[in-house]
């Protein structure tokens, strides 16, 4: 008990020192903010919370996402929805025990049946979430925080007791600590507010959604805009106190078509910007939407690709999508929880064992740098200054000269990483922010195409493949879900998200003929098993970085920036599905007058 208390008292002065030294202005702002005052008061009170005979918390963290959002959608020229959403959500993290051993990283003991008690307690289940009052009413906010903290503490002491018993019954293997200390940070920015010209955007969405009526081959379509702005407040018992503003706008234009044999095709354009005002102008959007519609109609009439084994050029957004799906997840250090319910990581989910080994050609360098807010004119959605655990973002050199040198880490230690490097993204999980894949000796697009043709010729092929976009991926989680369960997916492996060993289906894919370089669209194909190893055999890379932003609701936003790459050999197969027939009656916009 004594060391625990000591640790807490040691943490308290750090708070006050940090406050008084580096943020006098911030402190003034904080004094004006009833929400911050309420959180600070309840945090201090809650550290004294204890059940008889059990320890008080050694760490408490409150995060409040205080945001206003507007979501609207339109189809066929008419507004379909326009909703305002105002939310103030408190996430509570309560840790009991010590940094070395606490209630987290435990996936349940045995002997409690196949479900029930053991299941709810896994790692990541260390707290709870609750809505807070929207009014700046300090007393009302404190009341909600009080109730939201009590339950997580009770669960924490129960879980820690279970975990200690579990560990006593087992051979103790060498385990990293459960939580890494982090230096307190204090930064209180002015409160950000939501601003948007709602009627103007409703009108733009109507006009954008109307363009699809010009294309008889488009079966369904939608235009969706989600814009939000707000503040993230983080306070913890180590003395961190943050209030940072955030704003985001995501415009998604989706079109669907169906081939005569019933195969469903979908494509989407996604624009991510800080605010709706920073999105491209209407003329640009209209032209892009028409371009996509025309491409999709042509794709629906294209022949189905037969089995293919040979070189594939990933260009445009397919290049960063490829790296996101094959490489990004593995770059995160993976804590290994104890308990009966722990799971083994699949190959590609963690590259810990590849540290020091070659994962890409010598000419490649991979860096994650969340401090970058833009690449030229392109917004980087993965930009942040403090991660979800309040740790300042750090640049991490992950791959140098093709070899894996480092991993991304959160405050949950793993065998490979003892401390956070500012990449704690979601409930203690490490993840990418802005992942830059850079290749020395990048070549212009035309040279890449020639290299693709040369590779196909060497293998005695009549044509090679060029893939310019993969399924799902870019955009919000709603899109990813729609793709997972919707038209594009329909129960096949890999169709939607990709993941370890599986690449999402190609959406825009063309044959490039060896004899004259002409291109023909194809459809209806999926990748065979794809291993991370294919990246070692990249034959050539482009000289233009392409940004792929992903705005997750399940996970925080991230960006992957990569040049086009030419892979030596991949396998593609025709999709074996039993598609439903096209609608019996032609769409209203496609009927002859």
């Amino acid at each position: 008990m004594i060391p625990l208390k000591h640790m807490w008292w040691a943490a308290l002065p750090a708070w006050f020192v940090a406050l008084s030294l580096c943020c006098a202005a911030g402190e003034e702002a904080a004094a004006d903010d009833p929400l911050l005052r309420a959180l600070a008061a309840e945090l201090e009170r809650s550290l004294n919370m204890r059940l008889e005979g059990l320890e008080p918390p050694y760490f408490i963290q409150y995060v409040v996402d205080d945001s206003e959002a507007r979501q609207m959608s339109a189809a066929w020229g008419a507004l379909a929805s326009s909703d305002r959403d105002r939310a103030r959500v408190l996430s509570v993290e309560v840790r009991v025990g010590s940094y070395q051993l606490d209630n987290t990283n435990f996936s349940g003991g045995g002997g409690q049946g196949f479900s029930g008690r053991a299941r709810g307690r896994g790692f990541g289940r260390m707290g709870g979430a609750a809505p807070l009052p929207l009014d700046d009413d300090e007393a009302a906010i404190r009341h909600a925080i009080w109730l939201a903290t009590d339950g997580p503490y009770k669960r924490a002491v129960e879980t820690l007791t279970d975990k200690r018993a579990f560990l006593k019954e087992r051979e103790s293997e060498e385990r990293p600590p459960d939580f890494a200390p982090a230096a307190p940070v204090v930064q209180v920015e002015p409160r950000a507010a939501f601003e948007m010209d709602v009627p103007a955007w409703e009108d733009r969405l109507r006009r954008l959604s109307a363009v699809f009526a010009e294309f008889r081959g488009i079966q369904d379509s939608s235009v969706r805009l989600t814009a939000s702005a707000g503040n993230r407040i983080l306070l913890n018992s180590e003395g961190s106190r943050l209030r940072t503003g955030a704003a985001r706008a995501v415009l998604t234009i989706t079109a669907r078509a169906q081939a005569d044999d019933g195969e469903r095709l979908a494509d989407r354009l996604v624009y991510v910007a800080r605010t709706a005002a920073a999105l491209p102008d209407l003329e640009t959007l209209l032209a892009d939407a028409r371009g996509m519609a025309a491409r999709l109609v042509a794709q629906a009439q294209a022949p189905i690709l037969a089995d293919y084994t040979g070189p594939v050029l990933f260009d445009d957004v397919a290049a960063p999508q490829l790296f996101r799906q094959l490489l990004a997840a593995g770059l995160a250090a993976q804590p290994d929880p104890v308990g009966e319910g722990r799971r083994r990581f699949r190959a590609g989910e963690s590259l810990e064992k590849s540290l020091g080994k070659r994962v890409l050609p010598d000419s490649f360098r991979v860096v994650d740098d969340p401090s970058q807010a833009a690449l030229g004119a392109r917004f980087l959605a993965g930009h942040y200054l403090f991660d979800e655990e309040g740790v300042p973002a750090k640049r991490v050199d992950l791959v140098l000269e093709g070899s894996l040198k480092d991993l991304l880490a959160s405050r949950v230690p793993s065998k490979a990483k003892a401390a956070s490097n500012g990449h704690g993204r979601r409930s203690g999980q490490a993840g990418i922010g802005c992942l830059f894949i850079e290749a020395a000796e990048g070549r212009p697009q035309e040279e890449l195409k020639q290299a693709l043709i040369a590779a196909a010729r060497d293998q005695g092929l009549e044509f090679a493949l060029r893939v310019s976009s993969l399924g799902a991926a870019e955009g919000g989680a709603a899109e990813a879900l729609a793709a997972m369960f919707g038209a594009a997916g329909q129960g096949r492996r890999g169709a939607a998200e990709g993941g370890a060993g599986v690449l999402a289906d190609p959406v825009r894919v063309v044959k490039v003929y060896v004899e004259d370089g002409r291109e023909e669209p194809v459809r209806g194909c999926e990748f065979g098993e794809v291993d991370l190893k294919v990246l070692k055999d990249i034959l050539a890379a482009g000289d233009q970085p392409v940004v792929h932003n992903e705005e997750g609701v399940f996970g925080p936003a991230s960006s992957v920036i990569a040049p086009a790459v030419l892979l030596e050999e991949l396998e593609l197969y025709p999709i074996e599905a039993e598609p439903t027939r096209k609608p019996l009656i032609a769409a209203p916009h496609a009927r002859a007058e």
């Binding site: 008061a41 309840e42 004294n48 404190r142 925080i145 009080w146 009590d150 009770k154």
Partner: protein
């Protein structure tokens, strides 16, 4: 009845109801309960005490408010109902003052329960609520006077083992 006939009831009587997006089934609208055996409400209470004395019970129960209830309508389940009372008093046969109690639910089967109604009060009250069933949640009303039931079954409500919050509420600090 809705427009799906059942034997003996070939036509709808305008009770096909549903929540948006759900298929229609026959549902309650305004359910009126009327009785020919009515006494003033004060007398109804006296009758409760008399019934207790007659049955040699120390007390009876007075249910003033309920939060809701449910009944089972699927074929495999027993035809039983449960009502979740909020405000319940013990009314003593020996004239002691009423005692507020908690933690009881009313259970039973509808036919045997309703056949034991002795009489009703003269105080029709309106219950407005939302009723959930196969066709979703629909707003419904039930209008009924107080009723005196000769015999009813109650059971202990499931109780949480959870302790009250450890810290006092923040307002108590002031």
């Amino acid at each position: 009845m809705c427009r799906s006939p059942v034997p003996g009831f070939p036509n709808s009587n305008g009770h096909g109801r549903r929540q948006a997006g759900r298929p229609v089934v026959a549902r309650q609208g305004n359910l009126l309960i009327e009785s020919r055996k009515t006494v003033p409400i004060e007398r109804l209470r006296e009758l409760l005490v008399e019934e207790c004395q007659k049955q040699q019970k120390p007390y009876g129960y007075l249910f003033e408010d309920i939060s809701g209830g449910f009944t089972m309508t699927t074929r495999g389940d027993p035809q039983a109902f449960k009502v979740l009372p909020i405000v319940v008093y013990r009314v003593y046969a020996d004239g002691r003052p009423d005692e507020l109690v908690r933690g009881v639910d009313i259970v039973g089967t509808p036919l045997s329960c309703f056949s034991k109604i002795l009489c009703t009060g003269d105080d029709p009250a309106v219950f407005n609520g939302t009723c959930g069933a196969e066709s979703g949640s629909v707003p419904v009303s039930a209008i009924s006077p107080s009723i005196l039931v000769e015999q009813i079954e109650i059971e202990k409500r499931a109780q949480s083992q959870e302790r009250p919050p450890i810290l006092p509420p923040p307002v108590s600090e002031r």
